[in-house]
Symmetry: C2
């Protein structure tokens, strides 16, 4: 175990050096949340298909329970039950448009994780940094449970539990629990827990703060403790169901899956679930008594329970939908928690956009009208009115306006258009529009993946450290 | 599947080119015995421990169901459910005594398998070829079910089912079904099925031929067919029990295993089995209602059923012991089939040596007296008398003698001494003499191994071909 402890200490030191200007010491935040005995227990695994790029290099790391796809290099790092998807990376020769530049990608892109600790973190997509198109780097970084690093190269940063950085390059920042940041590029910032911030430089800016007292019921993180709150309890409650799918080598599907849909063998699908055409169910998704219409997707770490999704629904990484009826084309962003109850169902009308990190938790029936944007903390009708706007009205906004805890600046139309374009792209990439010939996406390409397992040295000085592993086409 | 078919065709062609002088075409022998659909189905796996060397390189191969330990390179080959143990290879700097030479090993030895097809074949130990100390090569070679390649580099050869080459370098040879060869170095020979041949050049020579008609009841192999006979039926009958241990990730031991013993997680241990101290049970061993005394070992592909082994017993690769009582220090060689029956038990007295590829299959009780060498085909008392000799008497032989189908030349004492030294070495290497401090062997070092699984591309042109995999310390 000696090498593993040294590795752990070394990463903490590196992150603290990076965060010295913010006067931030990660030690008390990370020390208790990484279960060393489990670093020895869980196998990691990587997928092999002819449809994905393949190139893995793992050195001097612990990878317990982590999932890898595509092109990834990991060195001197601890990735505990993380999910590293290098299957949407850029290819050599591809041209990326950015601002007034057409930039040619000089070699196949890879995810490079170095000197970092990621706990149950999802790393996905490709580097959106025009300065770093060939390398989606994550270095000197620690992230806690269910953080998302999405298209966001990051150096010297700390992400709290359920924090998301999305399409943002990040240097030496601290992102508080349940904060969501999509801001292009940020440096030396300490973002408060529960911040929801979307900025398109020169175009628009959306800023919301979850009321901290109300948020702390759902998620709370402080030094020398595990993350706490209803969101953590909810995830913990469903953890046991995953155990059985990791214990067996092959999974016998329990529901019917159409030929043009796919359900990952590491997803949990409980009875009374219906999978529609072109549906994608990703690894570590949890489905129970739910109806997924054509083209719906259930992304990593999401939970969909006792709910109906009409079709072309995006349920983003870590989103939870319980006792709800979702119209067609509804988008639910990262880590959102939509919690109806048996007698108090939540209805979300078609074409709605539920912002990332939204909490809708209700005791009486509630309906988000079709074509609305909803955000923030919503426990009742009054909250909904304060924290939503029709997309039509938002599109009319040309300068500043505020509503409740939210401030918006810039072009509402640009904001709405950008969001719609992104949702369309997500559905397309996931295979929602496959017609039997064209528009193949993950739902069609992921049907047949082989998974190889990897484990660390079981004892001795190198206990818990994985050997050097290179996998190439 | 295209690449895999090309690979298959290419290997057959290479082997046929090597065997052109013997006018031997392997095509009809191999074409039907390799189940292509299973090449896609079974995962391969390699072990990681701090006690073993670690260095795997797999390229352009199918490895379905194969087990790897230590240092192995495999390229352009098909290893179907084979067992490649590179954990006893020589280390750099080690000095090997051979004849009048002290040869220094110039680099760590590795097993190199190239352009070969091995079916359920065990490859073990290290190269006994003084010309090739750093490389235990197997090239342009095809071997059929349950063959053993033991310390024997081989090029351009074909081994029939249950054939064994032991401590022998082999060039362009054909080894018939159930033939055993230990002869130093052989070239361009076609060895008949059921031959048992031990030669120490200049010292002694032991040669026996199983009567072919009687042997064909036990094993028979001809073009365009699967290997047949009681031995194949026996192995097939117990195959289903292995399925369950390959389907789960972790095995819960069903019997008590002393701290100084080890039972591989890929062994089958059925109820009423007792594991003594310092016992080693290797992968793919099958135990059922048996009593293993201190220091006994059950090697790869062996079966021990309704039997008692008093202690320090060697049950070599592929040996089968059913309804038998084995005294202390009994050695049972490769692929031997000792088959008593409930009312007709077989008793083998202490210190006996049962030669490799011996068949004892009885309908009435039979006892091999203590301190005897037994060989060949034994179905009753008369056969036993023709096919055994006391070690004391054999030690007195100084020139030629024959008995039944067996011919012996040279020094009987040297033969017995060499055999005893080898048995002692096997027990020592397997940990039979461990006293809590000294003489650690496999039984102690193999207690805690992590296994990683690997699988091929699941579809496309490369269907069935494994990606390039490099594993290093």
């Amino acid at each position: 175990m000696k090498s593993l402890q040294n590795l752990f200490d070394r990463i903490i030191q590196r992150v603290n050096i990076n965060l010295r200007e913010l006067n931030y010491d990660v030690t008390p935040y990370i020390e208790n949340i990484l279960p060393f005995e489990k670093l020895l227990k869980f196998y990691a695994f990587y997928g092999i298909t002819p449809h994905h790029p393949l190139n893995f290099v793992f050195r001097q790391s612990n990878l317990a329970g982590s999932y890898f796809l595509g092109r990834c290099r990991v060195s001197n790092s601890i990735l505990y039950k993380s999910d590293i998807r290098g299957d949407e990376l850029k290819k050599e020769g591809q041209v990326v448009k950015y601002d007034r530049f057409d930039i040619k990608v000089s070699q196949d892109e890879a995810i490079h994780i170095e000197d970092s600790i990621l706990v149950k973190t999802l790393v996905h997509n490709f580097s959106h940094d025009p300065e770093s198109l060939e390398q989606f780097f994550i270095s000197n970084t620690i992230s806690a449970h269910y953080a998302n690093i999405h298209g966001s190269p990051t150096d010297g940063s700390f992400l709290g539990p359920m924090a998301t950085v999305d399409l943002t390059t990040m240097n030496d920042c601290v992102i508080g629990a349940f904060a969501y940041v999509q801001a292009g590029e940020i440096s030396h910032l300490n973002i408060d827990p529960g911040t929801v911030w979307v900025r398109v430089p020169g175009v628009c800016n959306f800023l919301y703060h979850h009321p901290s007292e109300r948020l702390s019921r759902y998620i709370f993180f402080a030094p020398n403790m595990q993350p706490q709150g209803l969101l953590m309890d909810f995830v913990e409650k469903h953890k046991a169901a995953f155990q059985k799918i990791f214990e067996v080598v092959n999974i016998v599907p329990t529901v019917e899956v159409p030929q043009n849909a796919s359900v990952d063998r590491f997803a949990v699908v409980e009875p009374k679930t219906r999978i529609g055409e072109n549906v994608l169910v990703a690894q570590r998704a949890y489905l129970q008594n739910c109806w997924l219409g054509k083209g719906a997707n259930a992304q990593e770490n999401c939970h969909i329970i006792n709910s109906r999704l009409e079709g072309n629904n995006v349920t983003a990484h870590g989103a939870k939908i319980i006792e709800a009826d979702m119209g067609e084309n509804v988008f639910v962003g990262f880590n959102s928690f939509l919690h109806g109850r048996p007698g108090s169902r939540l209805t979300v009308g078609k074409e709605c956009i539920v912002m990332p990190h939204t909490i809708i938790d209700i005791d009486a029936p509630l309906t988000v009208p079709a074509g609305h944007l909803a955000w923030g903390m919503i426990n009742n009708q009054a909250d909904l009115e304060a924290n939503s706007i029709s997309l039509a009205n938002l599109s009319k906004v040309n300068s500043n306006f505020s509503q409740g805890n939210m401030v918006f600046e810039g072009s509402g139309a640009a904001f709405v258009e950008a969001f719609k374009a992104r949702i369309h792209h997500i559905l397309e990439a996931n295979g929602a529009f496959y017609d039997g010939v064209n528009n193949k996406g993950h739902a069609q390409k992921n049907q047949n993946i082989s998974f190889n397992t990897i484990q660390p040295y079981p004892e001795g000085d190198l206990e818990g450290v994985y050997p050097t592993i290179l996998i190439q086409p």
